[in-house]
């Protein structure tokens, strides 16, 4: 990556000014056409693909020195991925960082939407591996582009309906497709479908960046986002049929965590900031509120709920 210095200036947030202008133009077009995937010329970043290079570029184009940045990876602030992205922006943009959802102005996320409701003035940046929701139905980009143009989304419904025929319900648990403002079908990134309702009517700006696939898309605040479903099989969220063992939350998304090699396990909030906030207020679950931290366990296990359908 060559450093492009403009008019004697230094760089802010790693990217050169011309690259940021290109990304910023793509973000604005994404805002103007919610759910449509805007192509952009993704840059080499000092981290491998799969580490959120698309999200990192979107964040870099949006950051101001006054921001407080939060980075989460499957709900946790302290995974290697989240820590290295946070440090990257501390170093290249000098921004403050936080683990508190309520204090963050920009939140970059992989695979979750925070449990704590977002608010106006916040930007949620999603890391996206595969932006095209129709890709597994049609590998050719020219064809999927035409399908979006003509709103030919029947195949997507067929796929979901095959789920129902096979499993008695829609088995898609992650990256559950949505329709934006009645127009574009969009991949919400691999968030659990538990999070889908939070996409809609959200007061924050939601931006999606796919580095390898070179796409940016967006949801302005208050955008209507509807999860695809059927009259006889309406969309349902799902989560593990338990309360959080640490904070007792009944309504948060849970990770199943192996606690020992005797088959011991527990269920804890995937959103570690949410869980710690509840415990700090005195809430306690089955194992009490004084456990060290759910993160410590979660890190020892790629602890995502494996998709068993316990709708509640």
């Amino acid at each position: 990556m060559t450093e492009h210095i403009e008019a004697g200036a230094y760089t802010f947030a790693y990217l050169d000014e011309q690259t940021k202008r290109m990304i910023r133009r793509a973000i604005l077009k994404g805002i103007a056409v919610p759910g449509y995937q805007v192509p952009f010329a993704s840059r080499e970043m000092p981290m491998p693909y799969g580490w959120g290079t698309g999200g990192v570029q979107v964040t870099a184009a949006c950051l101001v020195p006054e921001d407080r940045l939060k980075v989460i990876d499957q709900g946790a602030d302290d995974t290697t991925n989240a820590v290295s992205i946070r440090r990257f922006f501390q170093r290249t943009a000098g921004v403050a960082t936080t683990e508190a959802t309520t204090e963050a102005t920009v939140i970059q996320t992989r695979h979750r939407i925070p449990e704590t409701p977002l608010k106006a003035g916040q930007i949620l940046v999603y890391q996206v591996p595969i932006p095209e929701p129709l890709r597994f139905l049609e590998p050719r980009e020219t064809e999927t582009r035409k399908m979006h143009e003509l709103e030919e989304y029947g195949l997507m419904h067929v796929k979901l309906y095959e789920d129902i025929a096979r499993h008695g319900q829609i088995a898609t648990s992650y990256a559950y497709p949505v329709k934006v403002e009645g127009r574009y079908v969009m991949d919400p990134s691999p968030i659990p479908r538990f999070d889908n309702p939070k996409l809609s009517g959200n007061p924050a700006i939601q931006l999606f960046g796919a580095g390898r696939e070179q796409r940016i898309y967006a949801l302005p605040p208050w955008t209507e986002v509807v999860s695809l479903d059927f009259d006889d099989h309406p969309f349902q969220t799902s989560k593990a049929p338990h309360d959080c063992d640490l904070c007792g939350a009944q309504d948060s998304y849970l990770d199943e965590v192996i606690t020992d090699d005797q088959g011991g396990r527990m269920f804890v909030c995937s959103d570690t900031d949410f869980c710690e906030g509840r415990r700090a207020k005195g809430h306690a679950g089955r194992l009490g509120g004084d456990q060290k931290s759910s993160k410590t366990f979660a890190n020892s296990f790629e602890g995502i709920w494996p998709g068993t359908e316990g709708a509640r």
Binding site: A7, F12, A13, R21, V33, C62, P220
Partner: protein, 196 residues
């Protein structure tokens, strides 16, 4: 990008960002909020473009345009001073309305806006962004609804018919930034406009 210095235009050297990475970042954030929340009026700073451009129009050009974007200067904005300033600070190739990625001028000078690019059915992003200079921006006038707006808001648009026609083209259409002094407001193609 530094363009070659035009002759006899010492003024053209002035009025750009003095600290581009920081100033453009702060300005973009305001423009993002403006476009993402149609009708909200934001303030930007850092540019001192020549007459007749407003500070906000100058900031929008510095933040969004460069040698890779075709720019149309409309009406009085198409003057030697602005051309020199654009050449020095931005380097955007100047073009006619029909080919422009960005256009700047008063609403009257930009008319007829049906000239501007609205994107292609498979690439609706390949559309123009209009920077419309207005005398003032107030939250009074036609009603706006749509993405980015919780219930409804109001903005003193120069007219409604052109924006209703533009909305009818969705997902095609041009996008608009209104500028007045250091104020800026956004009206993406997705916004529904009604005279009240």
């Amino acid at each position: 990008m530094i363009a070659t210095r035009p002759a006899d235009t010492a003024d053209a050297l002035e009025g750009g960002f003095t600290e581009a990475p920081i100033q453009s970042a702060r300005a973009f954030r305001e423009i993002l909020e403006a476009m993402a929340r149609p009708g909200t009026i934001r303030r930007v700073q850092g540019a001192r473009p020549p007459e007749p451009l407003s500070v906000a129009a100058g900031v929008a050009l510095l933040v969004l345009t460069d040698p890779t974007t075709r720019l149309h200067l409309a009406g009085r904005a198409d003057c030697a001073e602005v051309r020199d300033w654009v050449a020095f600070h931005i380097g955007a190739p100047l073009t006619r309305a029909e080919e422009a990625d960005f256009a700047v001028g008063t609403w009257e000078a930009l008319h007829p806006v049906s000239r501007f690019r609205i994107g292609q059915p498979d690439y609706p992003d390949r559309s123009a962004t209009l920077i419309v200079e207005v005398d003032r921006l107030v939250n009074h006038g036609p009603a706006l609804t749509g993405p980015g707006i919780e219930t409804a808001t109001w903005l003193n648009l120069p007219e409604t018919a052109a924006f209703r026609a533009n909305r009818a083209l969705f997902p095609l259409g041009f996008d608009t930034l209104f500028t007045a002094g250091d104020r800026i407001a956004g009206l993406p193609r997705s916004t529904r406009v009604e005279a009240i």
